[in-house]
């Protein structure tokens, strides 16, 4: 049984196989759960499997135990469970928060004509004084909800007691957390506290740690102590008795050249990544950082404060660093097409050759070049230059998620 659940989980991308499904059934068969629950038998009269649980929480626990094998999938699992139980698609709070930081400005700029508002909205606006304050209150609550995972009557979107549920039909789409819930208990799966563990999310602190481990593996290849067969045979033959000789592990250390795009909206991400690589610094044979702005042209610099005084010609990079260096560009690759394709297109100065030519030179010179992009991969298609640069990188552009860094290191280490 639980076939529907099984497929719901798969739809949400939780990797479950028949084995897990059988385990879950076996667990029930062995009587791992307590007595059938009267309320549950009423709630799911046709689905007898669900009766055997003392509570939904217990069931959630058991299913999680049997079906999920990695904490990275917990968040997907939680969403799948919400879907399975409630039959509603859960809304992504992150997405909403992102919207919230993007949209308010536009909202506030909109000339809100009281005539266009419904009676309900007008009442609300009155209550909160202005739209601005309403947005602030909403943001506040979202924050609180995010931090404390508290639900109840404060949950944004809980019908009735919270204004935001009522406000939910606004055309711009401020609608949070599904239907109004009359039952007050917060469901575990709605807290979504494992969101940070999902490896497709952009790098957070924990992910940075994980990525660091990845980098270490990237930097350190070769096995532990090994038997030196040649030497052993030689010595044994010489002495007449067995004389084992071991040789130390071989280390193949990687050289990395990193080029960061600075001075834009992505600075925070780039700083994080810089920290990450610095932390892994002693794992690499050499690790060099350089900076550029928006697109690579004929010079780069090492010290951001003194970028106009101390420049390194890009040509010098190509001469100084051999082709065995792995080059990692970090940047959002979002610029105007002129910056990439035209002479003089740079926002800063008159460049003699277009950026694309310089990027091509780099990819031609080095064996392996990759581009890490802090921009969410879902939006890559909307920016022309991202696609163009990806082409220049022969497709080796990776999102700055744990998964992306993993894939990138895999490519670079090969």
């Amino acid at each position: 049984m639980f076939v529907k659940l099984f497929y719901t989980l798969r739809t949400y991308g939780v990797p479950v196989s028949t084995r897990e499904l059988l385990d879950l059934n076996a667990a029930l068969d062995k009587g791992l759960m307590r007595q059938p629950h009267p309320e549950l038998s009423k709630q799911f009269p046709e689905d007898k499997d669900l009766w055997y649980f003392a509570s939904r929480e217990d069931m959630y626990r058991l299913i999680k135990l049997c079906m999920v094998k990695d904490e990275r999938h917990f968040d997907k699992f939680d969403r799948a469970m919400a879907d399975y139980f409630e039959g509603v698609d859960s809304l992504d709070i992150d997405e909403l928060m992102a919207k919230l930081t993007d949209i308010p400005q536009e909202w506030l700029d909109l000339k809100l004509d009281p005539k266009n508002l419904t009676e309900e909205q007008r009442r609300l606006l009155k209550k909160y004084g202005s739209l601005e304050e309403l947005m602030k209150a909403l943001e506040e609550r979202l924050k609180e909800q995010k931090e404390r995972h508290q639900g109840g009557s404060k949950w944004v979107g809980t019908g009735g007691s919270s204004p935001f549920g009522a406000y939910g039909d606004h055309p711009e789409g401020v609608r949070v957390g599904g239907e109004s819930r009359k039952r007050s208990a917060v469901k575990v799966w709605e807290q979504r506290k494992y969101r940070d563990l999902d490896d497709d999310k952009l790098l957070g602190t924990r992910q940075l740690q994980m990525a660091l481990r990845n980098l270490r593996q990237f930097a350190r290849t070769g096995s532990a102590d090994e038997l030196d067969i040649k030497e052993t045979i030689k010595r044994t033959a010489k002495k007449g008795v067995l004389d084992i000789h071991m040789q130390p592990e071989r280390r193949n250390r990687v050289k990395v050249l990193m080029l960061f795009d600075v001075g834009g909206s992505m600075d925070i991400h780039i700083e994080a990544l810089e920290r990450l690589f610095s932390a892994a610094k002693n794992e690499f044979k050499t690790l060099e950082f350089f900076y550029f702005h928006n697109c690579l042209y004929d010079y780069v610099w090492k010290n951001n404060q003194r970028r106009h005084a101390e420049r390194t010609p890009t040509m010098e990079l190509l001469q100084k660093y051999g082709r065995e260096y792995r080059v990692i560009f970090v940047g959002d690759a979002s610029m105007s097409p002129y910056e990439l394709f035209s002479v003089g297109g740079s926002v800063e100065y008159m460049n003699a050759e277009p950026g694309a030519v310089w990027l091509k030179r780099v990819t031609d010179h080095f064996d392996k070049v990759a581009w890490l992009n802090p921009e969410d991969a879902a939006y890559w298609d909307y920016t022309h230059t991202i696609g163009e640069i990806k082409k220049l990188m022969q497709g080796h552009m990776y999102p700055m998620s744990l998964h992306g860094v993993e894939e990138m290191t895999e490519y670079l280490a090969r």
Binding site: S17, K30, G31, L32, R61, L62, R213, I244
Partner: protein, 290 residues
């Protein structure tokens, strides 16, 4: 469910012990592993009691504990047995009679020990992620069937009483899917304040309420400090409380810290284990004072 099998489950219920607080999730995980006789894979932040769990399960169920610590050089076969061909070769050169019996050169490993144990045992495979990437794959069959074949002697070692297998991982390497599929998986969350109070309670039954409040206040503040390399976890908290209890001066300092008279909590060395984190804390404290 038959009556006998119901009794069996009743006898082997794990509910935490006097010195170990297990959340409902964890209890369920352990009981499922016991009942269905599948290995239980435990992950979680360092210091949340992964290794301790196996000890406590063994103690509370009255089973012997067999621990196999995994290192980067550990091979799967070492857990089964090792055939010491080199010393046999040496013995043959020295003319030792032992050389005629191959059993003299076979050293049983931890799995062998657990499989042949007289009573049902708890086998802890600690920090499996430290080993080579192929290590878990090499143990698939052994953990599944709880038996293995000894090539040198031609015998098959089978577990009469399948041990309760608990495996811990710190996430340094990814474990193969085939392996994961054979395990139950539980992720120990960082304890919430309520659970944390219970944990403190089992460790320090006579501790003053106020000290706990103060300490937890600082502890959670510290954990929320952005950019710490290793945020303090349960084991650090317990160590810190032990030190605080032994030192009245420190308790006073703790209060001063909370009132904002002193910038850094006393005995912070027990909470933060690396230099970078301590520097961060000091810098942060200075900023707060300004």
């Amino acid at each position: 469910m038959t009556q006998s099998n119901l009794d069996q489950t009743k006898n082997t219920q794990f509910t935490g012990t006097q010195s170990y607080i297990a959340t409902d999730d964890l209890q369920l995980a352990v009981n499922a592993a016991i009942t269905l006789q599948k290995p239980l894979l435990i992950k979680g932040e360092p210091g949340t009691g992964k290794t301790l769990l196996a000890e406590e399960v063994a103690a509370s169920l009255g089973m012997p504990l067999i621990t196999w610590h995994i290192k980067s050089t550990t091979k799967a076969e070492q857990g089964l047995y090792e055939y010491d061909a080199v010393s046999r070769l040496r013995d043959s050169q020295l003319g030792d009679d032992r050389v005629y019996d191959i059993n003299n050169y076979i050293k049983p490993g931890k799995l062998w020990e657990a499989f042949t144990s007289d009573e049902r045992s708890v086998l802890l495979i600690d920090e499996i992620d430290k080993a080579d990437i192929e290590f878990p794959n090499d143990l698939l069959h052994e953990l599944d069937k709880m038996s293995f074949y000894v090539y040198e002697t031609g015998e098959t070692i089978t577990a009469d009483k399948r041990p309760v297998v608990i495996i811990t991982s710190n996430n340094e390497k990814e474990l193969p899917d085939a392996f994961l599929r054979r395990c139950f998986f539980h992720y120990i969350d960082f304890p919430e304040e309520q659970t944390m109070r219970q944990i403190i309670d089992v460790h320090f039954p006579n501790i003053q309420e106020k000290l706990v409040n103060d300490a937890l206040d600082i502890f959670y503040k510290l954990r929320n400090l952005q950019g710490l390399k290793k945020p303090p976890s349960t084991s650090e908290l317990v160590d810190w409380l032990t030190l605080l209890l032994a030192d009245d001066m420190a308790q006073e300092e703790l209060e001063e810290n909370l009132r904002g008279e002193k910038s850094i909590p006393p005995l912070y060395g027990a909470l933060l284990k690396n230099e970078a984190d301590i520097t961060l804390l000091q810098r942060f404290a200075n900023m707060m004072r300004r």
